[in-house]
Amino acid sequence: MDEEETPEIQIEVKNLYKVFGSKPEKGVQMLKEGKKKPEIFEKTGLTVGLDNNSFEVYKGEIFVLMGLSGCGKSTLLRCLNRLIEPTEGSIIINGRDIVGMDDEEMRKIRRQQLGMIFQNFALLPHRTIIDNVAFGLEIQGIDIPERHTKAAEAIKLVGLAGYEESMPDQLSGGMKQRVGLARALASDADILLMDEAFSALDPLIRRDMQDELIDLQQRLSKTIIFVTHDLDEALKVGSRIALMKDGKIIQIGTAEEILMNPSNEYVERFVADVDMTRVLTAQDVMKKADPIISCKSGPRLAARLMKEYGISNLFVVTQHRILKGIVTIDDVVEAVKNDHTTLEGIVTTDVPQVHLTTPLADIIPMIAEAKLPLAVMDDDNRLKGIIVRGSVLSALARKESEPIVA
C-alpha cells in the first residue's frame, strides 16, 4: 500500500565477520565450516562477534539492529565506523569500501559521513554544551565563529536553545541525549549511528525522544542505524528491523513482516509479547467499504443496497470517494416515504474518522463508543475502508492464535 520506489542503497554490508581474540582468522574459518559460537570458544578461546552478516541500508530509513545483550548488535554498529575492526568482509558506504581503508581516509569518512550517538550520552564533562556540540567541527579544524554558528543551529534543532553555555552535569538525561543528537547533527553527516541511544532514559522521556527522532528523520532525511534491545522501540522507530542472535542477523523486515511472518521459532518467541494493538493499524483491520453510495443517488437506491447487503447504514461519497457522510436505514425509509429524490438532508456528516495509520490501540476506545462504523481515511480525505466492532475483534483473535502464513 506504501509507495514502493526502488530505494537508494547507502550502506551495503557483505559477508561481515568479527572474531575477538588473537588469530581471529581461524575463528572465521571455523564459522565458514559451520561451527557454532560455543564450540569455537571451547576449542580456540576465540569469541565470535559477528557471523557472516550481509544487509543493505537504504538512504533515509531508520534501520534498527535489535536483539538481546550479547547478540552482536553493538559490535555490528561499531564495525560500520570501524571503532571495531571487522575481521573479514566488506562495508560499502556511499560506494566506497571502508574495510582496509587507511587511517587518514577513515578519519575523513568519520568526520563527514558518520555521526554517532551513545547510550550514556558521552558528553565531555569539561566543556559547555555548545563546545560539546561543536566537538566534531573542532576536530575538522573549522574556526570558532563558524563552528559555533553551526553548533547553535543544531542545538536549536533539538530544542535546547538557551542552554548553550550550560555544563553537561546541569542537564537532565533527556537533555543530555539531545546534546548528543545535536553533536551528531552538527557535522552534517548523512548517516547517524545510534547505540542504544534512548535506553538510559526513563520511559516517558524515552517516548518523546522516539517521536522526535522520527520527526527529525523525516525533516532532515538522515539515514539512521539504530541499535536497541527493546522490541517496542524497534517497532516504533524502525523503517526496517534486523533481528540478531549470536552474532548473526536472523531476520530483516518491516515491523509487520517480522510480527506476521517470524522466520523461525526464536523470532516468534521474541515477538510473542508484543502488544498487537500498538502494531496493527487501521488499514490492517479495516474491511472494504462496500457498498457505498454516491451523494447524487436517491434514497430508493440506498434502501435497496441496504436490503441487499443486510446493513443498516451506508457511507455516502462524492466522485473521488471523498467522504460526504453516512445515512441510516431509518432516515432512508423516511425519505422514501416522503418521495425525496436525493439523499441531501438525511446525510449525517458527523462520522467518526480515523487515518490509515492510526494504531489499533487508539481505535478500540473510539469503536467502543461509536454507534456508527468508523471511516478509514487516507491523506487526501478519501474513504479507504470501514471498521466495525467485529473487524477489530476478529483481527485481534486471528493475530494472536494462528501464525499467519504469507
Partner: protein, 281 residues
C-alpha cells in the same frame, strides 16, 4: 639444603657490579652529568631569585591573596596562611623557607615534565605500562635515603644532588595518577573522539588530558608533598633550606632550632597542599 648451597657458592658480586657501573658512568658520561647539573642549578637559582625578589613584607600579603582566590575565597585559610608566613618571617627562617620552596618547585616541575609524559605513554600502551609499573613499585618501596647515594656519587654534595634525589622520589605519583586518570576515562568518551574522526593527538589534547585532569592534579599534589618531604631529607647531602636547619638542630641536639624549622615546614606544606588541591576544582 638450599642454605648450604648458598653458603658454598661464591657471593654474587652485586655491589661490585654497581660500583663498576658507577665508575664507568663517571668516566664516560661526565659531560652529561655536568650538563644536568648546570640546567638544574640554573632552574633552582631562577626560582630562588623570583621568590627572594620581593621582601617578605610585600610577598606575604601577596601570597595570602593568592591563597584567598585559589581556594575560592576561603578567608579562614587565607588568614591562616598570612599568620603562618608572618611566623616564619618572625622566626628568622624566611630565607631558608624560600630556599626550600625553590627546591620543591624546581624539583616538582622536573618530576612533572618527566612523569606526566611517561604516564601518558603508559596509559596508551599495556606493554609500556607493565614495565613502568615494575619500576615504580621498585622506586616506591626503596627507602628514600637510598636515593641519596647515587645522587651524591654522580653530583657530589649540595642542592643539585638534593634535587635529583627529590625528583626521583617525587615522580612516581605523577606517573601513576596520570596513567590512572587516562585509563579511567569512560570508553564512550574515547569512542566519541574516534567516531568523530579525531587524530591520536587531538584525542589526547581535547579528550584524554582534560577529562583526566582532576586525577592528574591529584598526582601533582602528591608530587609536591613528596618533594617537600624529600627536600628535607636531602639536607643530609647538603641541600639547603629548612631541612638543613632541622638537620643542624639534630646534630647539635638543639630542640628549639629543630622545632622552629619543623614548624615552618608544616606551614609551607599546608599552604602548598591547599593551593594544589583547590586548583583541581
Amino acid at each position: 639444603m638450599s642454605l648450604n648451597i648458598g653458603i658454598d657458592l661464591p657471593k654474587i658480586p652485586v655491589g661490585a657490579f654497581v660500583s663498576d657501573l658507577v665508575d664507568w658512568i663517571e668516566a664516560n658520561l661526565g659531560w652529561l652529568l655536568d650538563g644536568i647539573t648546570a640546567v638544574l642549578r640554573y632552574l633552582l637559582n631562577g626560582f630562588q631569585e623570583i621568590l627572594m625578589f620581593l621582601p617578605p613584607e610585600i610577598f606575604i600579603p601577596i601570597l595570602a591573596i593568592i591563597v584567598y582566590f585559589v581556594t575560592r575565597k576561603d578567608h579562614k585559610l587565607a588568614i591562616l596562611s598570612f599568620i603562618g608566613l608572618l611566623l616564619i618571617w618572625n622566626l628568622q627562617l624566611w630565607d631558608h623557607a624560600m630556599m626550600t620552596l625553590a627546591l620543591v618547585l624546581a624539583s616538582t616541575i622536573i618530576a612533572l615534565l618527566i612523569g606526566i609524559p611517561i604516564g601518558i605513554l603508559a596509559a596508551n600502551s599495556d606493554s609500556i605500562n607493565a614495565v613502568v609499573r615494575v619500576l615504580l613499585d621498585f622506586m616506591q618501596t626503596m627507602p628514600a635515603f637510598v636515593y641519596l647515594v647515587p645522587a651524591v656519587i654522580f653530583f657530589s654534595l649540595g642542592n643539585v644532588p638534593g634535587m635529583i634525589a627529590t625528583v626521583v622520589f617525587a615522580m612516581p605519583p605523577a606517573i601513576r595518577l596520570t596513567n590512572l586518570g587516562i585509563r579511567q576515562i569512560p570508553t564512550e568518551l574515547i569512542e566519541v573522539s574516534d567516531a568523530f574522526g579525531a587524530t591520536p593527538r587531538q584525542k589526547l589534547i581535547k579528550v584524554q588530558l582534560p577529562v583526566a585532569l582532576p586525577t592528574i592534579m591529584a598526582g601533582v599534589n602528591q608530587c609536591i608533598m613528596l618533594a617537600l618531604s624529600m627536600v628535607v631529607i636531602a639536607s643530609m647531602i647538603g641541600a639547603g633550606g629548612l631541612g638543613y636547619q632541622v638537620l643542624v638542630g639534630i646534630q647539635r641536639v638543639n630542640i628549639a632550632m629543630g622545632f622552629e624549622a619543623g614548624l615552618a615546614i608544616v606551614i609551607i606544606a599546608i599552604i602548598l597542599d591547599r593551593i594544589t588541591q583547590n586548583l583541581i576544582k
